[in-house]
Amino acid sequence: MPTNEIDGKLIAVEGLDGSGKSTQIRLLKRWLELEGYKVFFTEWNSSDLVRQATRKGKKKKLLTPTTFSLIHATDFADRYERQILPLLKGGYIVLADRYVYTAFARDAVRGCDRDWLRKLYRFARKPDITFFFELSLDVALGRILEGRPTLKFHEAGMDMNFSNDIYESFKIFQGKIYEEYGRIFKEFPAERINAILPSEQQQANMRDIVKKRINLPGFKLRLKKGEGL
């Protein structure tokens, strides 16, 4: 993965739904902003392109593991080339709620070749820090399912025909993603965060790691005279 000519830093969080990673990265963002650093936040959400295609794909059952993977890679590339990369080049700290490891996990569970997936995302820079939120599958499922939320078709892995019951399908799908994450973070480096700890403790651990690994004073917003925050 390319690394030259980039002054910024990339911090990613990964983990199961219900691991609390989104809460933690938002807290990290608030902290960095209030400290006066150049920060940009991006999430692994779906643009119009993906939403349209997945809606169409679901209705007509068009999507296969390969096209599902490719369309998300297309979407990510768009976000990467138009937001993430320019801001990294501009010296920002970019915070990513989910990164390519999400695709590695989810698409491998759907049957895509692991080596093919790593090649597919070769254009994307490796994070400077990846936080992996660890907790047991049962706790993660409990946190998500206790409110009986409305699960989306693909989010629950309904395309995999694990079960006709959407909650049952979600559990099986998440279990497989859990296993795949374990494999991925043997292959790639990650800072492990114990997602069972109190929220403020997790946040304190993350801030310590960021302070240790990133020279933060280099990322201060330079304000012109007379300009406030």
Binding site: A53, L62, T64, T66, T67, I71, T74, A77, D78, C112
Partner: protein, 125 residues
């Protein structure tokens, strides 16, 4: 007959031994007369009784329209465009080309991955 081969690892769940039809690829730059020749070929093959199907770039059900639309806006960056075309190709490969070949069709491809490779190399891949 030798089994058909893939360039890479192939597709998850596709057994190359089951691919029986014939894939004919027509490449060439714009204005080279590809479409005309493909029309002739298709008419000739069908007259002889060979079931024939034509595929080509930006014709996938999944993203063909979206891709054509995005091209008008001229807002896509190189990697995005490449992957968009790959999605369009994969949809046709999995849902038209491979099933047609399994059913013994002749598949005529108006441009194929060579065009995508050539373009991407020009764009710096």
């Amino acid at each position: 007959m030798k089994p058909k081969r893939f360039y890479g690892k192939g597709l998850p769940g596709v057994d190359p031994a089951l691919i029986k039809g014939t894939l004919i690829v027509i490449e060439g730059s714009d204005g080279a007369g590809r479409s005309t020749q493909i029309d002739f070929l298709q008419n000739w093959l069908e007259r002889k009784g060979y079931p024939t199907v034509v595929v080509g770039l930006k014709r996938s059900e999944l993203v063909g329209e979206a891709l054509a639309e995005a091209m008008k806006g001229n807002t896509l960056t190189a990697t995005t465009l490449k992957l968009f075309y790959a999605t369009d190709f994969a949809d046709q490969l999995e849902r038209v080309i491979i099933p047609s070949l399994k059913a013994g069709f002749v598949v005529l491809a108006d441009r194929y991955i060579y065009t995508l490779m050539a373009r991407d190399i020009v764009r710096g891949s």
